[in-house]
Amino acid sequence: MAAALAPIVLIAALLGAWEIACRALSVPSYVLPPPSAVGEALAADWKGLLASAWNTLAMALQALVVASLAAQLAALGAALSPTVHRALRPLAVALQVTPVIAIAPLVNIWAGIDHPERAIVALAAVVAFFPIFSGAVTGLRSADPDLERLFDLYGAGRGARLLRLRLPSALPFLLEGHKVAAGLAIVGAVVAEFVAGSGSAQGLAWRILDASHRLQTARMLAALLALGLLGAALYALFEALERAGLKWWRGR
């Protein structure tokens, strides 16, 4: 019980210190508003924030599904053929280091001006792709060497080896990759909305940018808080999944 309270206490302490510092140093609220102001903004905006957060979450989840499928397919291809692996790896890295803002115009054109949500999903998927791909590639190579030897003996083909040995062996790494990718999908959706949203789209990005343009820092922080909560919730979900998955995997 005390342990469960600890983080709450810590957060409360941090907030208290922040509030006091803001008041004592009379920091102007457009630079850093006190938590009470953020709380007010939250209370005033919560309906809109909820709708925006839902919007962003929907985009992020779609992107995560797309990224997960694409990354795992690519990793499977790489595992089936070293040539594919050598060819895909630099492309995957290049994709990871490409800033969303650079390819947004091209993606916008491809998605069509009337389908900004397609562009957002595609861009966020690009952001979330790499950790899953990298985790899958590493995981697919992490099978117990003695089990690999047994599969040699059984004369297992590449496909069977992949499906029945390497893929299950990769599970812990895949779970870890998805955990990292979940947060990236969210931030990717937000950034994609910055550069590819429909201007009037109602995700969290719009709220953040609009508040920032208008110097309403408290409103911006409220939106960031909503974003953080969204991320934490998704992370908690994936962590629970990881725990359950690993428990199943290990058999105890």
């Binding site: 117990d144 003695d146 089990l147 030897r149 047994l150 599969f151 040699d152 003996l153 059984y154 004369g155 297992a156 069977a160 029945r164 040995l165 299950p168 599970l171 199943w248 995997w249 290990r250 058999g251 105890r252």
Partner: protein
Amino acid sequence: MIAELDEVEVSYGGRAALGPFSLSLAAGEIVALVGPSGCGKSTALRLLAGLEAPQRGEVRRDAAPGETAVVFQAPTLAPWLSAAANVALPLELSGLTRREARERAASALARVGLAGREAARPAQLSGGMAMRVSLARALVTSPRLLLLDEPFAALDEITRRALADDVLALWREAGPATVFVTHNVEEAVYMASRVVVMSPGPGRTLADVASPAALPRPPGFRTTPEFRESVEQVSAALAQGMAAA
């Protein structure tokens, strides 16, 4: 001739681990490999299985992929599969339907005394049980070449004898050429048509003791003087090898 090691030598990082060592395995033969810990028995088995190549000498094998079954020294089970699924795996890979594979797996598990534990995961089994699952997985495929690395080491005497008879029964049915590693000299003499005694260090052949009786064993074989004599012979070779080292 199913498999043959011809003056093979293996070393790891410059340290000699085996050989020069030769072993020829005829069809339907059971060879027991005994020798001190670390002499290269597991290494020799890996060479016979074609899982490793020697630095010197030659390995000749006459078994297609899928015709060799191995039990490694440690139970090598997939943690995410149940005992039955682990045993069924080689069958499914060889093209059997899932149902048939599972049925055969269940009967193989029953044969090693694990009826009722089909659904257990490797992590939920005791050390001896896991080893028995590993053994069941090797026996279920009816291999032409059977390689067993101390398969009964973690088992009590009674289970051990029962499983030894089980392997012999399988051998009577299908006649796989078998090499098994054991530290139990009596077991070696009881089961094998030939006992090869290895030296310490990088293992060489110290003695090659043929069985005093034909396989399958006549009843009461363990109490015959010929049996005791073979056991003495193997033990003496072992002791001599270790004293020389």
